[in-house]
Symmetry: D2
Subunit: 344 residues, 4 copies
């Protein structure tokens, strides 16, 4: 069985295991105050072309999301998100557990627009009884989205303008950032994200690391005491250098970008195979997650050799399922899947 069900079913890129081996005999300072975290920060800053950002390494995405939001918001403030956003749909209410309401906007293919955000911000701005409602203060986007789509430079610029106009923070969840930046149609780069957002994170867990996310904070207001928030929310790894070392390795010689771009290319081959077969998609996207609509017969056939993730039934007689490529996809695995698609 070959696993396509998600992009976090394999350990780590071999370069990371090698780095762990090479440093295993060395002692380091605790809690992220070590040379590898420092080096990884500098390396990432060099990609961003700026040193005015704070970079912190956390163990996972849910934690990164609620820790940033906890640090950014006061109790009466709230978050604007797509209804399909990970914080709204897959994190067991962690943001609300921290005390904050999410204004869930109806997403289109996983995305929300500047106009939708403006409309929500206006509801508050024009309210005559502001103390009876929460104040939207942070816009949360995923890049790529949970449906594999990406925002264009223009879309992000428009959203940034609305954020500036209504004094909102812009946060980007980049759990799959590499797959977004690596997409053939992507017209932004890593440093653009630092310029356009107040805070974002670079996903490691799904992009070649054993685990870990690098939170990049540009807005000075969000930098203050961030390490206290990490510790209080349980995200401070005792052996923090394990995270720094992984990110240093990923950003050495563009490894992060190479392995995720390759996964996107694999996904496009997969997409082409389904297309060639006339199999419809739930939506089209240029990244590593592909949402196809299979019949039960097709599911049964492919399911003999491949693991994919069931999403939901689609009338009248199809089912949306997800196939993910990743940094760990092997050529022979892709070939096998394509052959099986062709044989449907």
């Amino acid at each position: 069985m070959i696993r396509w069900n998600n992009d976090y079913n394999h350990g780590a890129h071999p370069a990371i295991l090698a780095a762990l081996e090479q440093t295993n005999e060395t002692g380091y300072g605790g809690y992220g105050l070590d040379e590898w975290c420092r080096k990884a920060s500098e390396k990432i800053q060099s990609y961003l072309g700026r040193t005015d950002v704070d970079i912190h390494f956390l163990t996972g995405g849910t934690q990164a999301n609620f820790t940033v939001i906890s640090a950014a918001l006061r109790p009466f403030q709230s978050v604007i998100s797509a209804d399909t956003g990970h914080i709204n749909s897959h994190e067991t209410g962690a943001v609300e557990h921290c005390g904050h309401k999410i204004h869930a906007l109806k997403a289109t293919d996983g995305k929300i627009s500047a106009e939708q955000i403006r409309k929500e911000a206006l509801l508050f701005a024009q309210s005559g009884t502001k103390e009876h409602i929460t104040q939207p203060k942070l816009v949360y986007l995923s890049f790529p989205t949970e449906y594999g789509t990406i925002y264009s430079r223009q879309e992000l610029t428009d959203i940034r303008s609305v954020c500036d106009e209504y004094n909102l923070y812009l946060m980007v969840d980049g759990a799959r950032l590499g797959y977004g930046l690596g997409a053939s149609t992507c017209d932004i780069t890593l440093d653009d994200l630092a310029s356009l957002t107040d805070v974002f994170y670079i996903g490691g867990t799904k992009c070649g690391a054993l685990f870990g996310e690098a939170v990049v904070i540009r807005n000075d207001d969000l930098k203050d005491n961030f390490r206290s928030y990490i510790k209080q929310n349980g995200g401070m790894l005792a052996k923090g250098w394990l995270l720094g070392l992984q990110f240093y390795t990923l950003f050495h010689n563009d490894l992060y970008f190479r392995i995720t771009r390759k996964a996107d290319e694999d996904a496009m081959k997969l997409k082409a195979a389904f297309h060639a077969k006339g199999i419809p998609f739930y939506l089209e996207n240029p990244t590593n997650q592909q949402f196809v609509l299979l019949t039960e017969e097709q599911m049964a056939s492919l399911g003999q050799n491949h693991v994919f993730e069931y999403q939901f039934p689609v009338k009248p007689d199809r089912h949306c399922v997800r196939f993910c490529t990743s940094w760990s996809t092997k050529p022979e695995e892709l070939d096998a899947l394509i052959r099986h698609i062709e044989a449907l």
Copy 2:
């Protein structure tokens, strides 16, 4: 200027002030452990025809809502509510501040249906990854709703069935309960509410009291340590007998029911006057809040003598505004308003 903008712009029914006068020289035990709270509980229980309910007196509706929800839910559990529900739209995110997500269902005239609730409950029940989402555990309804509509016995019975099927608590916010029960089309009584719900409250603030809400808990699971929740959430009045005394007075000789039914009758006269003038309504309802669609000219004209509450613009050239009658509405005030409507 005559105030129709809300139903909480006057002090209290004279009987309540009289009761305060008569007891002012007497000393009582603190924190709701006094004879008036006991008597008021017994009086309300006699209306319910049952003694197996716990009754607590809190100072206001927002507090009653989040205190009950805090007590009822564990951290990973969530609330199902109409999007127009008070907890979702007018309480500054108090429920989320307590850590709980609200599943806001699209309301129709302020109401949600058993079918909508079942659908939401099913999303969780059928989920294969329950630990990644919150568990809906409590259904919150308002009776009457924020738009003055009321649920029928059949609708409540259907909702109760869904709650039983999916093991959900049913909570009714009765901030305006009297106006709901007093409606000519209402086919339930106070004791029905105790039977159909796990917990509900009888609004005092908007129904003749200076302030206060009586929380009625039927489900034994929700009774445990409720006084600790009241105290922790700031809702335990030191001079608790002030609340007990007010509710005793309101439920003595049906006062509560008489004054709210009268307000509904006044509202129907008001409605008839607008109808007679051909003025449209945002929606039709049988209770004390009437939502009419006025032109700017009509607003200006009525605004010379009357205060009403602006809601929102309605295309192309009308505005939804709210007129509330209440226990404090005087015949001459109603006459004046009707005359001004007729003169439009």
Copy 3:
């Protein structure tokens, strides 16, 4: 039976009931946006000799405490309090429920010293791993304390200095403020409190009102969006003018000061009677709560006619009990108690 068990066992000063009667036919704006709240604020400001303070009216002390603390602190910040402080010992963990640790310092007669506060602040200031501990940010004092003692001007000035040195907010819980300011040994005035603290509140519930506390915010950092915090925490009374009206009445013609000073004088007569009888005290204080050490026999004897509050046993054969005078104490009640003490 005459109640001395606490200072909140009677309704309100007659002037307050009269004011409620006089305004009962008038309609007012909701949620504290009304003329009585405005007038009461201006009246209190005139006593403070300054208009640069925001004044908000809340329903009770627990609520005032946690609402102010919620508004003042970020999640990683904590409170310094006497271990006997009300927030630490009688509010069901409401401050921790809001997410904040209390550093409980060992009190002496209910008080903590500038030196103790400095020592606690230093623990953080000198810590090399600040992100692993909470940052003390607010000092909470009660005036008078839960044991009826009061801080001198010098003590408060010293505490203020420490607060300035370590960038701490100073908050005073004035649930019994009148009884503190009315004490014969008190060397501060109401306006001193506004100058020395960042925020404090003037207790109404225990000082002549039916209920209510007036929160006075001097520090601009704490003013921002405070009404949102009140609403979110359930402390915003729909009929807010009921609070404004009560405080206006209390501060009209010094009523607040006269009735609480009188209660202190009564307490001193009570104290003298116990002293004359050679009955020891748990501690000496100049305010309305007196903590005496009675034998079981004395408790039984006085208990025939008087209600007092049991505190705890004191070795070898005595029991600490509390007698409270208040604004509602009648001369004949005091006489009766003194006669009974003399007859012990």
Copy 4:
């Protein structure tokens, strides 16, 4: 420089890195639903001699602590802990951030006694106003403590009795569990802990793993929906098998016990060397953390080759510092340190 400052300054036991290498080409299910987590659970259960425990793998100790406490307590309930307990002193108020008060009892050498716990439980049990205070519901102990001491079987049995008497949960933080069980004076075994406690965890981070703690839940009341709590609190590793694999490796062939016992033996040699030199200790303990009192001169001398952790000054002229041995201590490092001590 040789690091003795803590027991988490090296990566992982080589067997763990080898296991990561061997499994790196294999795909696994996510979020702890995989064969390694299952195998590790079974392996640990075999050590416990029981299968009626749930075992979950979390990324770190702070997270394990507040996640368990969040799951165990209702909002009005609180925790009893030593004042030196990790949750009270080194976790940035994470427990209070989750809404729960900690009753911090004065520790003796890091430990609290059954008698102290009973006294605290009695305060609540005997209170006449329980709704005004929090209900202690969980006792938190560290084994070994933050000062390296361990509870005897008798002490734990006594504490268990108090917990049974007052209906309290008993939780043991075993971040350094191996070092406690490996102590020459330890008279309990791993399975005793499962019998004596309601929940405890087996520390991996400080005992040979890269990271991770295994939470063992015996009490059925605490098992319910625990995975939801893990996810909501950010502790659910996407690649959960990385944790299962590490614990499987540690519990294969007693590795966990062998490497921690060895570290304790090393610590005893270290202790003997200081003793032989007449250097006093802050306290005596049988585990891997040794707290010695050095002069400034001795600190300077040892500091040339060794890193140790400064604790606090001790009058008149000494300083408490911590030396930790660990699973990663090498014989030549220990020899070097002992030689340098002898040369002081």
